[in-house]
Symmetry: C2
Amino acid sequence: MKAYLGTVSGNSYKLRILLGLLKVPHEVVIIDLKNREHKGAAFLKINPRGEVPAIEDNGQVIWDSAACLVYIARKYGGEQWLPTDAAGLAEVMQWIALAATEIQCGLQYARRGVLQGRWTLGSLEDGQNFGKVALDVCEAQLGKHEWLALDRPTIAEPACFAYIETAPEAKVALEPYPNILKWMERCRKLPGWAAR
Amino acid sequence: MKAYLGTVSGNSYKLRILLGLLKVPHEVVIIDLKNREHKGAAFLKINPRGEVPAIEDNGQVIWDSAACLVYIARKYGGEQWLPTDAAGLAEVMQWIALAATEIQCGLQYARRGVLQGRWTLGSLEDGQNFGKVALDVCEAQLGKHEWLALDRPTIAEPACFAYIETAPEAKVALEPYPNILKWMERCRKLPGWAAR
C-alpha cells in the first residue's frame, strides 16, 4: 500500500495513527503542500479533489481521510476498528461526520487561517464557533464514555483527534474540556499511536 | 423506526429518499426548525449536536444524516446500497465525505445564508467557491460513470443529491455541469425516489 501524505497535514496524521495502531506495512509518498503539489496535474489524477491524504492499494486509489481510514480498518482491522452491523457502523459514522464538518471546516480551517493566512470559509471567529459545537458534543460524550463510539477505540478516535489536538493553534483552548483532555491521554497510550 | 426530520431540511431529505427507495416503514416526527426546536432542551437530548435528522430504532438513537443513511442501508438494504468490503465501503465513503465537507459547508451554508440570512461560515462567495470543488469532482466522475460509486446507485446518491439539487438557491447555476444534470435525472427515475 502506498500512502500519499503531507508532513503538516492533520488529515494525513489520521492515517499515520491508524497505520501505526494496526502495524500496516506501507510506503509513504510525501506530497509537497507548501509548493501546492496537491493542486498540480499529476496529483489531481490521483485525487481530483486536490487534497492529501490518498492511498493506492492493488491498483485502487482511495482519497479522503475518512474513506482511507475506512479502507485500512476494514482491510487490516477486522470488525474491531469499524464494525459492519447497522448500529455499530452508524455509531462510528456519527463521529466521522463530526470530524468532516464541524472539526474540519471549523477547527481546521480556523487553524489554517491563523498559520497560513488562507481563510477558506469565513473568519477566525466563524471557525472557532463552528468547531466548538463539535468540542461540546465530544466533551459531553466523553463525560459518560471512555471512547467516542462503542465503548472501545475505533476509527472515530484518529478521525476526531487530529484537529482537536491542534485546536489551540486555532486559538481555541482545550482547558475548558477536561474530558477531551483525558481522552487524548488515553489515545496517546494506545500501543502504536503515532505522535503528531 | 422513528425519523426526526425538518420540512425544509436537505439533510432530512436525504433520509426521505433512502426510506422511499428501500420502502422502510417509519414514523415521522417533524421538528420545527423555524422556531429553533432543534436547539431546544428536549431535542438536544436526542441529538446533542442540535441538528436534524436523527432516527430512533429499538431504543438506539442515531444522529447525523450520513450516519442515519448508513444505519438504514445496512439494516434494510443488504450489501446493495452500502457494501462492507474494504474497497466498496471506502469508495462510497469518499462521496459521503464530499457531502459532509464541500457540499454541506459550501453549497448548503451558502444557500442558508441566501434564504435565511444566517452565515455560519463566511460569505456567499466563500461557500460557492468551496462547493464548486465538489461539483467539479462529481462532474468529472459522472462523465466516466453513471453513478458516483461502484457503478450502481448507493447511499452516495442521496448524500450528494440533496444540496446539489438546491445549488441554484445558493446562486450556483448547474448548467455548467451537464453530467450532474443527467445524473440527477437518473436519480429521480429510481423507483421510490422521493421528491424534495
